[in-house]
Amino acid sequence: MQRNITAQLICVHAALAMAVLMGVALLLAGWVPPPSPAMSALETAQMYTGGGNKIRFAALLMMLGATLFWPFAVAISIQMKRIEGPVSQPLAGVQMACATGTVMAIIIPSALWLVCAFRPERSAEVVQALNDLSWMFFIGAVPPALIQVLVVGLCALYRQGAEEVFPRWYGFFCLWTATGFVGGETVGFFHTGPFAWNGIFAFWMAAVFFFGWILVTWWVVMHAIRSPAAETSGAVSL
């Protein structure tokens, strides 16, 4: 049976390109950690006029990186379908659908950063509102990624024979990742402190778990694609 190993490996390696592009974009814009939500409207507007081109390039890299999350999610779903069997693959479908939510939570703020930098003469209050909107998406739109990692963990843990594809520790790692994402849920409540969008729990912990999950999943899925067991099991249809 045709397994398309090369195409699968291209999809899974997209994760590495995504991590690099997103990391470079954040550093280029000077957003590690993100700009403080406590900044005044004037300071926010000055950030975009001062760093206009850097922020524009960062937004472009961020969009490209986010888009590469889709092939990565396809590679994950193909392995989940091996676990779920040929008849129906609900968990693989949920994972794929939620991945789209995760991607949009990165592409939409990127577009908003481009808008903020697009007309430097715009009034500071409007820039501040758009900037708020971008970070509410980028840090605050946690649920799609949360459900995504939970459903991968669930698939690895409760299905019979899942060990052939995902090691059991990986299932528990996904559950742990989900707990690490929770800190980003409350960015709407705080302008300062650890739960604000530039704080230790909402930004630092969520970022470490997000990139950590991507790297660990990249490694696990790559091994699953290359494993000899992949020859005999798996879904017939995509």
Binding site: W176, T179, V182, T186, F195
Partner: protein, 203 residues
């Protein structure tokens, strides 16, 4: 092992075998990982307490310690019920464990009700998430724990269903042990949270 070996013999026999942790080994990644997240939260809380001792001491004085104490008793009791349940399952011949798990679930439910009442009283008295830094930590840390309680109760429901089966496989026992381990974590975390947020500090 003899079908009719007593519990004591079974434990003695296990004592000579290879050392073993309850549940499955990989589960401890989640248990220890979760503890790391909480440890960071506790450190950040302690640091903030140092920064604003007056605000935190004033906030702490407004908490009702009875709720914290009752919740501690509820979780300790439920942990004991779960431990009794797992022991019943391990016995040869096996005893019915489901009623122990049901009792643990009732205690968990009582914890949730008590927490909701406590939150309501606080919110009605004007002490909310955004009041000050003390109440931010109070709500965030206890709500994060409450999510753990709800997840743990979901696991307990599945454990109860497993224990009600006429036959339990080795995999089922492993699942019951893993679920019990998670419930003990939920209990342990509360035992850390209660003194830290309700009791310790400037008197």
């Amino acid at each position: 092992m003899n079908m009719h070996a007593t519990d004591a013999e079974a434990i003695a026999a296990r004592g000579t075998a290879a050392p073993r942790v309850p549940g499955e080994n990989s589960l401890w990644l989640l248990i220890l990982g979760d503890m790391v997240i909480y440890a960071i939260m506790f450190l950040v809380f302690a640091y903030s307490y140092q920064q604003q001792p007056d605000t935190f001491a004033a906030g702490q004085a407004l908490l009702n310690k009875s709720f914290g104490f009752i919740n501690t008793l509820l979780l300790l009791t439920s942990s004991w019920f779960v431990a009794k349940g797992v022991r019943s399952i391990r016995r040869q011949p096996r005893l019915d464990a489901s009623h122990w798990l049901l009792l643990a679930l009732v205690c968990g439910g009582a914890f949730v009700v008590s927490k909701v009442v406590e939150y309501s009283l606080k919110i009605n008295a004007g002490m909310v998430l955004t009041s000050n830094d003390f109440f931010m930590y109070y709500y965030m840390i206890t709500a994060f724990h409450l999510i753990h309680v709800l997840i743990g109760m979901t696991v307990l429901v599945f454990m109860w269903r497993t224990a009600r089966q006429p036959q339990v496989s080795a995999d089922d026992v492993r699942f019951l042990e893993s679920g019990a381990t998670f419930w003990h974590l939920v209990d342990l975390l509360w035992i850390m949270i209660f003194p830290l947020i309700y009791l310790l500090g400037r008197t």
